[in-house]
Symmetry: C2
Subunit: 132 residues, 2 copies
């Protein structure tokens, strides 16, 4: 159970019941798109879609959330965490996290003076469940 109230204040945002519910639901689900999130959230507290959009944008802007753009799927959101890859199953749409070492990875790449702030490694394929 994360202390989202403190996290919000540390990022200069007010702690509201809506934001806490949003964050805890995203945390519980790992990755989730706005449509699924809305379904989960309205079972707990009333949040119109417009407010949800606004909240996700703000929470991403301050860095509490990370948005993940995925080919073929709607944007997903997750609680920001150290760099990890996303394995996206093209069959069922599930997303699996795996750790990787960003600096090892970048060693082999000629960045041509590009100044890296963050990396995102994504793989598409078939997950274990769907392979069967």
């Amino acid at each position: 159970m994360m202390d989202f109230e403190s996290i919000l204040r540390e990022h200069g945002l007010k702690s509201t019941p809506q934001r806490s519910v949003i964050l805890s639901q995203i945390y519980d689900s790992g990755h989730i798109d706005i449509e699924q999130l809305h379904k989960r959230v309205i079972g707990i507290i009333k949040i119109p879609l417009g407010t949800l959009y606004r909240a996700l944008t703000e929470l991403s802007t301050v860095g509490i959330l990370t948005a993940i753009s995925i080919n073929g799927l709607k944007t997903h959101y997750e609680i920001s965490k150290p760099s990890h890859a996303h394995l996206v199953c093209d069959e069922c749409g599930s997303i699996c996290d795996v750790e990787y070492n960003a600096s090892n990875l970048l060693e082999n790449i000629d960045l041509r003076s590009f100044q890296i702030k963050s990396t995102m490694l994504m793989a598409h394929g078939v997950c274990v469940k769907c392979k069967r």
Copy 2:
């Protein structure tokens, strides 16, 4: 100058003037979103936005194009080519390609029986021009 007519037929699609213009414009621009592409394309041949959407979807489905979903930007399209990373400048939105070796990269990752079809490495940061 690529032979897009042949490429289209090899992928089981008919060669039409619209598709050739679309492909050559994407080719010339490297990466482009639908809005910018439409501006370029209508200077050459009349293509309604709806048709452009349909064309991009079809061309991506058969594999001639690759869609690139990018946080904060609209989906970009490029002519499909061997795996390469995209360096996205958060200042100016420019996208730069760099080569990388996908298998080297995956060696260090525990894929947990996930069957990889494609990988996509993206980095956000500041490009040389914007760093100035």
